[in-house]
């Protein structure tokens, strides 16, 4: 196949042989994984990082990086990465999943890994619905949002309000945890969050969790403008962006 004349810049830790990647046009995963790739480059940890991806759209990242990668089952990436970290603490373990995997079928793993202060980094991509299975309601679906299982819009009376994962994780973790919510609309901020989340693990402080607000125009059935509007204007009204828990480090006045 003829190479395009101009290659877009890519992180060194990306595996070029598997690009272009397999995500839908307009999907946020590529942006999130680009920010993660740069974070890996910045920290120089490509040789000791283990990347775990879940079931759902995140599994399409199983050959995404030039790093050792394990694709697991739905919701089970957190325990697989926990198992690796417990057996080989020198490895840096990243569990990458969607909102269904982390907040529904694997919620018990997220909660307990956070409570045990596992020294792993969990990245959860929130696109407000189940992407791979065709757009059903997720724990993160916004009130009134139409999905395949809420065709008349999510009714909080029947199905509750969307889950605020980072706030929950912040509430149940110790001081050493790092918890943040970023968005694929601010990739430079996201890269910084990933760096801090990885540093937290490298320095052995504790659990690190970053939720990433993302897009799914395929299932949202939105055009580019509507997609951007939802990501930039609507989602952050409910899912507040920023660092939610930053561990105290030496020099912060605690000594």
């Amino acid at each position: 196949m003829a190479m395009p004349l101009v290659q877009p810049p890519m992180p060194n830790s990306w595996r070029r042989e598997t690009k272009p990647h397999k995500f839908c046009p307009g999907c946020g995963h590529g942006i999130a994984l680009r920010a993660l790739g740069y974070a890996i480059d910045d920290l120089g940890i490509q040789d000791r990082l283990v990347f775990g991806c879940d079931i759902g759209c995140s599994l399409l990242a199983w050959d995404f990086f030039n790093v050792d990668t394990v694709q697991t089952h739905h919701g089970r990436t957190t325990p697989v990465m926990t198992g690796i970290k417990r057996a080989r603490p020198e490895l840096i373990c990243v569990a990458y999943m969607g909102d269904g995997g982390g907040y529904a079928i694997g919620a018990q793993h997220l909660v307990n890994a956070a409570v045990r202060n596992e020294k792993i980094t969990v990245i959860l991509v929130n696109n407000t619905q189940y992407g791979m299975t065709g757009g059903q309601m997720a724990p993160t679906t916004l009130p009134g949002q139409k999905t395949e299982t809420t065709p008349y819009g999510r009714d909080p009376e029947l199905t509750g309000m969307p889950m605020r994962g980072p706030e929950m994780v912040a509430a149940i973790t110790e001081d050493g945890a790092y918890v943040a919510r970023g968005t694929v609309s601010k990739p430079r901020q996201l890269r910084k969050m990933f760096i801090r989340a990885l540093q937290n693990q490298i320095e052995g402080r504790g659990f690190a969790f970053v939720e990433v607000l993302s897009t799914c125009p395929t299932n949202w059935r939105t055009n580019a403008e509507e997609t951007w509007q939802l990501l930039e204007a609507e989602m952050p009204k409910y899912f507040h962006i920023g660092e939610i828990k930053v561990p105290l480090v030496k020099g912060d006045g605690d000594d």
């Binding site: 030039n66 394990v70 694709q71 697991t72 417990r86």
Partner: protein, 361 residues
């Protein structure tokens, strides 16, 4: 910190759960991941007391899904990792074991069967045979050792780690609550001193070098895009399985060469069967005994030879024909009569087996 957990040989009087913990140490297991469920809890209780002395790891997880998946993480990191469970925990364990089967991960799982279905009893049964041998959405490509004595629990727990790492199929030690909770004398030993080779573990992830620079990245998946792609992978696994099945299969037999009636049993029930057969043979009755030690793969060749020679088989188990189903499949096409002695959820005594044999012969 002590160097060797076990030197020389030691005659001991232990519960089966304690035996498993000692055997895992003797096999140089590195880490256990576990979740409490009766009747296997003391495997964890003894491991957590022994492990810190020998720089071994332990993690109590939030459920058996997590226990299984963290065990997967442990083996992928290149450590000898294991877990233990029972009953409803074995059901949850089948999800991680299906992944281990798909990806040829050498997890070791000890099952102390309890009564079922559902919560059943916390005590005993042989009702987890089909679940352990064929659980999960796969083809049952896993090794299942069914132990009968505490000595075997020790020997086969050590062997399970070797089998798992040599052939890269998930490996079960299938015992039961009677074995787990009962005390019995046995000899524990250091397998290396006895000249047994311990197959060393190897990492799947986190090998030396930078992926993509010094070596290809390890990309491990269990999902495939199209049917043919999956089929090709499975054909490879099945070919491997068929090649090594006879090598892995083990059985025990007594008096089958001249027996008209052969009592077939596995696990702790085989002890009652063996004792009964010994008693009847002492009286001169043409009764024999056959016991598969591996339920997966079944020792089919040996079983077929026995069944061709015998007139009747008495199948004894503490379940309603789960073991019987495995035998029937292996013996399909033969006309040997299979007489059931099925007692789901309860134990079987030698007297019962003797009485049934007398009725038949």
């Amino acid at each position: 910190m002590a160097d060797e957990p076990l030197t020389g040989e030691k005659r001991v009087f232990m519960t089966g759960n304690e035996v498993v913990a000692w055997a895992a140490l003797a096999a140089q297991a590195d880490i256990m991941y576990g979740y409490p469920i009766t009747p296997q809890n003391e495997v964890m209780h003894y491991w957590t007391r022994l492990a810190p002395k020998y720089n071994k790891g332990f993690l109590q997880t939030e459920d058996e899904l997590s226990a299984g998946f963290t065990t997967i993480g442990g083996v992928m990191a290149g450590k000898k990792a294991f877990t233990a469970t029972a009953g409803p925990g074995n059901i949850l364990m089948q999800e991680p074991v299906a992944m281990a089967e798909a990806m040829r991960l050498p997890v070791v799982v000890v099952i102390m069967q309890r009564g079922g279905p559902s919560t059943g009893t916390v005590i005993y049964s042989q009702q987890e045979v089909m679940l352990t041998a064929f659980g999960g959405n796969g083809e049952g490509l896993r090794v299942v050792y069914s132990t009968a004595t505490h000595q075997e629990l020790f020997d086969y727990t050590i062997k399970a780690f070797n089998t798992a790492w040599r052939y890269r199929f998930p490996t079960f030690v299938l015992a039961d609550g009677y074995q787990g909770k009962m005390r019995e004398p046995l000899t524990i030993y250091n397998p290396v001193e006895r000249g047994l080779e311990l197959v060393p573990p190897e990492p799947y992830v986190g090998r030396p070098g930078t992926p993509g620079v010094d070596r290809p990245p390890g990309h491990f998946r269990n999902t495939y895009n199209v049917e043919e792609e999956l089929n090709e992978v499975l054909r490879g696994h099945i070919a491997d399985w068929e090649r090594v099945a006879e090598e892995i299969a083990e059985h025990e037999a007594l008096g089958t060469e001249d027996a008209k009636l052969v009592v077939v049993a596995h696990g702790v029930v085989a002890r009652a069967a063996k004792e009964a057969v010994q008693e009847l043979r002492a009286e001169g009755l043409p009764v024999g005994y056959f016991r598969p030690i591996t339920l997966r793969p079944l020792p089919s060749a040996a079983l077929l030879a026995v069944a061709r020679q015998a007139e009747k088989l008495l199948v004894v188990e503490s379940a309603y024909g789960q073991f019987g189903r495995l035998l029937r499949e292996a013996l399909y096409g033969l006309t040997v009569e299979m007489v059931p002695l099925y007692k789901p959820g309860v134990g079987v005594t030698p007297e019962e087996v003797v009485a049934r044999c007398r009725e038949i012969v």
